[in-house]
């Protein structure tokens, strides 16, 4: 017997809708679970005191510093390269075999698993270049990892600048570079910054790359050649080695809050950017 189209329609909406609801429910569960367990432990004191006894007690001050320094260094390296690539792809060249190769390379790099970045960083930066487990090795490895994110987001932002802007600039006698600098980059800026923020987010979330390239020192780093650990690594070590569940939850809560802030600001910025365009 055939089911009347009216009922398949209702059935489809119910099932497909349930799948969407489930996805959102999982997200809410994860955030609520971590915050519920971690917020009671998280305090100003917890954030700004040194850990003691391998992190069994005390706070996460050096970890907080590591979590700020590593993504920062990664972005300082990756942002100019990524934005340069996207400007070149969008403004200085037309589609050709070369751009297809660049795009394919970017896509593949985006798909490379973090453990491979970790292995590479370990053998190349840590061992061959002799940087050891350090902020420098970690920052460089993370920079490789976030490059595709920055390239894609800023290329999209640059391409969304209306054609008319370029035409007006060219008709006034501006060169290509002048047009890019004075017209296109300022207009695409919010989109580009979104890409950079997402790159910072990716670095904060990462664990495997950081363990293999930046090590896991609990001391406050004094130079970029010191080892450090990020909140994700600290949480992993505390939870896996069962050192302190309390401090693990506190760190997890700080980590989730950092991720929420980073992604929310990227989202709001992008939202305003799109609203302005339309």
């Amino acid at each position: 017997m055939r089911i009347p189209p009216k009922y398949t329609q209702i059935g489809a909406i119910a099932i497909l809708g349930a799948a969407s609801v489930l996805t959102v429910a999982i997200l809410i569960f994860i955030i609520v679970f971590v915050l519920q367990k971690g917020l009671p432990i998280l305090s100003i004191n917890f954030l700004f005191t040194n850990p003691s006894d391998m992190g069994r007690s005390g706070g996460i001050l050096p970890i907080l510093i590591g979590t700020i320094l590593l993504p920062l260094l990664a972005i300082i390296i990756a942002a100019p390269l990524g934005i340069g690539t996207s400007v070149y792809l969008a403004e200085f060249t037309s589609e050709s075999r070369v751009t297809r190769l660049i795009r394919f390379g970017t896509d593949c790099l985006a798909g490379v698993p973090s453990i491979i970045f970790g292995l590479f960083g370990f053998i190349f930066f840590v061992t061959i270049l002799g940087m050891g487990w350090s902020i420098m090795s970690g920052g460089l490895s993370l920079a490789f990892m976030v490059l595709p994110t920055i390239i894609r987001t800023s290329e999209e932002a640059i391409r969304s600048v209306p054609k008319a802007y370029r035409e007006v600039s060219f008709s006034l006698g501006a060169t290509r570079w002048q047009t890019v600098r004075k017209v296109i980059l300022p207009n695409a800026l919010p989109g580009i910054v979104t890409g950079v923020i997402l790159g910072i987010g990716r670095s904060i979330e990462e664990t495997a790359v950081v363990i293999f390239t930046a090590g896991s020192s609990l001391l406050i780093p004094t130079s970029v050649f010191d080892s450090t650990r990020t909140m994700a690594v600290h949480f992993y070590i505390l939870a896996r080695e069962g050192l302190s569940m309390e401090n693990a939850y506190g760190t997890a809560a700080a980590l989730i809050i950092a991720v929420l802030i980073v992604n929310l600001s990227a989202y709001l910025l992008m939202h305003r950017f799109i609203a302005k365009r339309n």
Binding site: I26, L27, T106, G111, V112, P113, F144, F235, A239
Partner: protein, 285 residues
């Protein structure tokens, strides 16, 4: 004042444009330099098809890890693909704009949750449930499949939504004008037109599932053997590298890099297929 000349800027930008592809080449080069000699020394067949992994005895067979990676990935696809595609269809075709505005950022946020947090939730919430309901150790292929299935949802949903929305509106209008319901239009027309993009999203999801490390280490139990059931403990290729890299030296370390070579080749292969599938869609448009 002219800091950079027109030609100079163009040259500089064309150099930066090769940063991503150079990074990829550099990574491939060094992983291969460290791993390939071992592969030939030990024998590719022995390395890939032997089941004995015992670094102290000089035995390096990664077949159990290949099998584990495969089963965990397959399980993740069974969880993630239907859920993700269903969510994508609902959001692209049925959901009102306001719902879309709430759900889409939520899905992007799901992609931003650190993998160690997923792994942890798997250990403290999921594994005990599996242990109580189905028996076994809890930390298992099933736990890995469910956690990875959730982790690949954002990849599948966002690429599927894009490819569904890329189907021209005139197709839908034609179908609706003939009296078809929205659902009939979707499964007879939109879904077929968006097929290559949806397949690409699944392939990229497979790549993510095979490549994921931290969450998998935490939830699959890591026993070196071929899993006999979904409730068995398993150790994936990625977990094998991450667990032993810390203390590995000599041959053992080379074997881990060779594992990295295998992983790298599989991922690049999957990405190439996905990239072809996505490009096809663009050309058709």
């Amino acid at each position: 004042m002219k800091i950079l000349s027109e030609k100079g800027v163009q040259r500089l930008l064309s150099v930066t444009a090769f940063s991503a592809i150079s990074a990829l080449a550099l990574i491939a080069l060094f992983i291969f330099i460290e791993g390939l000699p071992f592969l030939f020394k030990y024998g590719i067949k022995d390395f890939l098809l032997s089941s004995e992994w015992n670094p102290e005895a000089g035995k390096f067979g990664i077949y159990p890890m290949i099998a584990s990676s495969f089963w965990v990935m397959l399980g993740a696809m069974l969880v993630g693909a239907p859920l993700g595609i269903a969510g994508a269809i609902f959001l692209a075709e049925f959901a009102p704009k306001t719902v879309m505005h709430i759900v889409k950022p939520a899905i992007e946020l799901l992609a931003a949750v650190p993998s160690v947090i997923y792994g942890f939730i798997g250990v403290v919430v999921l594994a005990p449930i599996i242990r109580d309901v189905f028996g076994g150790p809890g930390l298992s292929v099933l736990a890995g499949a469910i956690i990875l299935g959730i982790m690949i949802l954002p990849t599948i949903i966002s690429i599927s939504i894009d490819s569904i929305l890329a189907v021209p509106t005139s197709f839908r209008e034609g179908s609706l004008a003939l009296g078809a319901t929205t659902w009939q239009t979707i499964h007879m027309l939109t879904f077929r037109a968006a097929k290559s993009g949806i397949i690409a999203s699944i392939i990229l999801g497979m790549g993510r599932a095979i490549g994921e490390t931290m969450a998998v280490i935490m939830v699959t139990g890591n026993a070196v053997k071929i899993p006999n059931s979904a409730l068995d403990s398993a150790r994936t290729l990625t977990a094998n590298i991450a667990l032993e890299m810390n203390y590995a030296t000599g041959m053992h370390r080379e074997a881990l890099f060779a594992t990295g070579v295998v992983l790298f080749i599989v991922i690049i292969f999957l990405n190439s297929i996905a990239s072809v599938a996505i490009r096809k869609k663009v050309i058709k448009k």
